[in-house]
């Protein structure tokens, strides 16, 4: 399985970084092809709602930054793992900045899917989505549920589904075994 991990932890010294590193190594050990993007190390200028990626440079963000790296890594994967600590009840602004710049992956045209208006697909295939949360003492079960609900909607708009989610409170090896069964 090809897996891309979007690491939304901005703090280089956080235990969540070490956890993700261990998880990545476990997955590689199981024979999976893993691309781990440390978003804090990338130049992501953020989406400004210009829609150039739909109407000027279709399929690509017109900003000269690393968002193309994120989009390519996402589309090269069978499973896209969104990994982030919880801050103020949701995943980090850093992870959201990367997600905002994934808009070029869909097409502006409207379609009706599941009784709702959504955007048309741009690609024949999209990765499954997974969500790994570092829940601190400030987060409760309701925060996790709300966070899941928002990312599940994003996955749906990205022509996919949120196939797995978990809190990073178990051994990385155990989580790796579970993830390997998802895709």
């Amino acid at each position: 399985m090809r897996m891309t991990i979007l690491n939304g932890e901005p703090d280089a010294a956080s235990p969540f970084q070490a956890y993700l590193e261990a998880l990545s190594n476990q997955l590689v050990g199981l024979g999976h092809a893993v691309t781990k993007l440390d978003l804090a190390a990338l130049d992501l200028k953020g989406c400004t709602g210009c829609f150039n990626c739909w109407v000027k440079t279709p399929g690509e963000c017109s900003k000269h930054d690393d968002s193309a790296t994120v989009c390519r890594a996402a589309m090269d994967a069978d499973l896209l793992l969104l990994a982030s600590p919880m801050t103020m009840g949701f995943t980090t602004a850093l992870l959201k900045r990367a997600a905002d710049q994934m808009v070029p992956l869909i097409h502006p045209y409207f379609v009706v899917e599941g009784g709702e208006i959504h955007h048309r697909a741009r690609y024949a295939h999209y990765p499954l989505f997974a969500l790994l949360l570092g829940a601190g003492p400030d987060s409760d079960a309701e925060d996790v549920e709300i966070t899941r609900a928002m990312w599940a909607r994003m996955a749906r708009n990205m022509k996919s589904r949120l196939a797995w989610s978990a809190i990073a409170d178990r051994a990385a090896a155990e989580v790796a075994d579970e993830l390997a069964l998802v895709a």
Binding site: P58, A93, K96, R97, Y109, I146
Partner: protein, 230 residues
């Protein structure tokens, strides 16, 4: 006279659909007896900093945000993260302002914005604030394409919500429902919408921009994988 800190969380700044709507709420707020609000655009760095600094001292904070990939844009989340010390302050007995929100999404149905609304309501609890409600509205992008006059009903309703906020300290449920418009399509409504989406003219907004930009021939470009085919 109560003070209002009006925060525009749209990365588009002053020209955004969020700001067009917030402006009408602000007009109603003043009409309802509130003081002239301080307006800050979070996309401007100095104003972002000012918004963090001014939060604790405001009577009411109205934060407007577009829906980006089904949640708040990163800019708004960064602002919320900057408010983390106010959670600690509230736990220590400090007082945070009353919070009101405006969420506008591009799709017509309000249902797309409800998970974010739920998050914002929980944020109010986290900050120990009083919750004044969330204005949810779909079809926000249409505000960019339509003449101001075409939205008279919406502007009037947003003004009423602003008046209610100034007078009652919260938005009225009936007016929130009226502004939200379509919550979800019925089966019949979804069928009609599905047929409408197949009419090329319905995509005129995008097609016009693609043609003006010379991008029409590349509109189905798929640089990262095999393209979707109908």
């Amino acid at each position: 006279m109560n003070s209002l800190l009006l925060l525009n969380g749209s990365p588009r700044g002053e020209r955004s659909s969020s700001m067009k709507m917030l402006q009408r709420v602000a007009e109603g707020w003043v009409r309802g007896g509130g003081a002239q609000p301080e307006v800050l655009h979070l996309v401007r760095h100095a104003q972002f900093e000012r918004a963090v600094e001014a939060f604790a001292g405001a009577g009411v904070v109205l934060l407007g945000t577009p829906l980006y990939t089904d949640a708040m844009p990163a800019l708004v989340k960064a602002y919320i993260e900057a408010l983390a010390p106010r959670v600690e302050a509230a736990r220590a007995g400090g007082v945070n302002p009353t919070l009101a929100f405006l969420v506008q999404g591009g799709f017509p149905e309000a249902a797309h914005s409800r998970p974010l609304e739920r998050y914002l309501e929980k944020l109010v609890t986290r900050l120990g604030s009083h919750y004044a409600g969330t204005i949810v509205r779909g079809n926000g992008e249409a505000l960019q394409a339509m003449p101001e006059q075409a939205n008279r009903k919406l502007w009037a309703r947003l003004q009423v919500l602003g008046e209610q906020l100034a007078r009652d300290g919260r938005f009225g449920a009936a007016e929130l429902k009226a502004v939200a418009g379509i919550e979800r399509f019925s089966r019949f409504g979804a069928l009609i919408a599905s047929l409408a989406c197949k009419i090329p003219a319905i995509q005129f907004y995008w097609n016009g921009m693609m043609k003006r930009n010379g991008a029409w021939a590349q509109r189905f470009a798929a640089p990262y994988g095999p393209p979707f085919e109908e």
